[in-house]
């Protein structure tokens, strides 16, 4: 197990470095640059700005300095567009907001999706299976950017239970987390049902039932662990998808999270901010994937042997 964790750790570092290099060189390939819009600045001034930001060094030297700054001082450099702000400060302000959003969405997705999926699998081909599964299917087909405005319209504007948008008090987290969580709850319900059905049809379950194990125990003790394997495997892609979702959700509900910064910086060509945000997202997901991998190896020992 230790070897498994170590090899995954090394691999994660390589992935992270690749992400950093890709984003860094990609953002620098674009023509124009961050100061292209300041038309009335003289070439001398632009030259001076470039010099002070170290933009005249070769790209590889810049990348080396950039990495050194991150690793040694946690310094992602200055933002080119938001004058006087540092990327690390912007990230430190916005990341907790996005994390809170993502984690509450994940909790909602698991708490709703797993029990519904188990219920549908146990009551296969009954109304208790069809109804939740059709709902889940519609949930998947109602993307976050439709669901978000609808929830905001009905629960926010019409019923007045929540603010329609904004990030002022704790209740403002409800609608965004719900929008994101419901979408993944639908997926997880379908995956749980599929996984449980596969396990429930196996011989050892028949043996357990024949032995007279109560049905509740058959489900909770004998099937759940195996049935949840596909769900755990889905968590990696789901977390990556939640990043996409958070871009949309933060846009709809005007939340000052990392997604908002990333989208704005990409549109403004604020290189270092895009780069910093992408690296932080990458690090977060690589770490979460590591956790998911270890969790998977614990649930399914066969996976460990393939390493």
């Amino acid at each position: 197990m230790l070897r498994f964790v170590l090899s995954r750790l090394v691999q994660s570092l390589v992935v992270l470095l690749t992400i950093a290099a890709l984003t860094f060189f990609l953002t620098r390939a674009a023509p124009g640059g961050p100061f292209a819009r300041e038309k009335n600045a003289s070439p001398d001034i632009i030259e001076q700005i470039k010099e002070s930001y170290g933009l005249n060094d070769s790209a590889v030297v810049q990348f080396g300095n950039y990495l050194k700054g991150i690793v040694l001082h946690g310094d992602f450099g200055p933002s080119y567009k938001l004058e006087g702000r540092w990327v690390s400060d912007l990230i430190a302000d916005s990341l907790p907001v996005s994390m809170q959003l993502g984690l509450s969405a994940l909790v909602i997705a698991l708490l709703l999706g797993v029990p519904i999926g188990i219920l549908a699998a146990v009551k296969k081909n009954t109304p208790l299976d069809y109804l939740p599964m059709s709902l889940a299917m519609s949930g998947i087909c109602l993307p976050t950017f439709v669901m978000g405005p609808l929830l905001s319209l009905f629960l926010g504007l019409k019923l007045g239970w929540f603010h329609a948008a904004g990030w002022y008090d704790s209740s403002d987290a409800v609608l965004p987390s719900l929008t994101l969580g419901l979408y993944y709850a639908a997926y997880i319900a379908r995956m749980t049902r599929g996984g449980m059905l596969e396990i429930l049809s196996q011989d050892f379950i028949r043996t357990a039932r024949a032995k007279g194990v109560p049905e509740t125990l058959v489900i909770l003790r004998h099937s759940l662990k195996g049935g949840l394997v596909p769900v755990v495997a889905f968590l990696g892609p789901a977390l990556a998808g939640m990043v996409t979702g958070s871009f949309v959700i933060e846009n709809i509900f005007q939340i000052p999270g990392l997604g908002t910064h990333f989208i704005q910086s990409a549109a403004n060509r604020d290189y270092l901010l895009s780069c910093g945000a992408a690296i932080v997202y990458g690090a977060l997901l690589v770490f979460m994937n590591l956790v998911v991998d270890i969790l998977q190896a614990t649930l399914n020992p066969r996976l460990r042997l393939t390493e």
Binding site: Q11, V15, I19, L22, T23, L26, T27, A29, A30, P31, G32, K124, N125, M137, S138, I140, C141, L142, P143, F145, V146, G148, P149, L150, L153, L157, G194, L197, E198, G236, P237, L239, A240, V243, T244, F247, V248, N251, I252, F262, I263, A266, A267, R269, S274, A278, Y281, G282, L285, V286, M288, N289, V292
Partner: protein, 310 residues
Amino acid sequence: MSDSTAKEGGTSLWLDAWLRLRRNKLAVACLGVLVFIALLCWVGPWFTGWTETLQDRDLGAQGPSWAHWMGTDYLGRDLMTRVFFGGRISLAVGLLATLVSLVIGVTYGAVAGYAGGRVDAAMMRLVDILYGLPFIIFVILIIVTVEPLLASIAVKHPAWSFLGSPQAKLGILFLVIGAFEWLTMARIVRAQVMSLKKQEFIEAARSLGLSRSRIIFRHLIPNVLGPVIVYTTLTVPSNMLLEAVLSFLGLGVQPPFSSWGILILEGARQMEALPWLLIFPALFFSLTLFSLNFLGDGLRDALDPKSSKD
């Protein structure tokens, strides 16, 4: 059905699949809905009596009426016409980007499955890693990098001026989206190729002295094609979704084109006063995704009975 099996009263894989699919009422209904929506978007704009940009400024924003079945926006443009035009782009993105995904995914999966061993392990580990990464970040970075790059080439070299056109931007969008949705396809094809190359019926076909091309075209391809068709059907909605997300964020389809994603964005901004602007595009978009997903599920049950979960 000109081969011997049909004469003996058996059914080909495809006829069998079609019969199974036809029994699945929901999948057939979804197929019908999809054909209907595609037809509407294709020929509909000629029959609405309005054009995409025609403005009736005296009218302004009006709810659905006999003249404008889905209402108009604040510029007095007919929403139904705009939904059909937007649908053309959304469906085109779905189909063309999926073609890109298909080519990459099938090639990658087939190479990995055929090579096996270490090459396969390395290639599939890469897929695992890519699965967990936020693709959209790279999609966005590539779009904001490549578009100005091509535009600057277009300015410098008149012969390449088409690179700066809105059509070229749309083309980049197709390519970039398609280039990121091939992972599942690669996994499926690899698994298929790996299990097929070891199976007895291939060995049997070989020992019967069938030619290699006959083995490939009559025995291998039909068996890989089933799952490929299923996942192609399922890739279309995810590509459409990605396009809509990018357009919603202002980074996807650009004017003069529009898409369902853009119409939904415009509708969401004015949903309190003019809810029909959100409801109709969202309805068309969701109905299309719903139908594609159910059709994909139906096709899976029809073409790959082993994987059916019931």
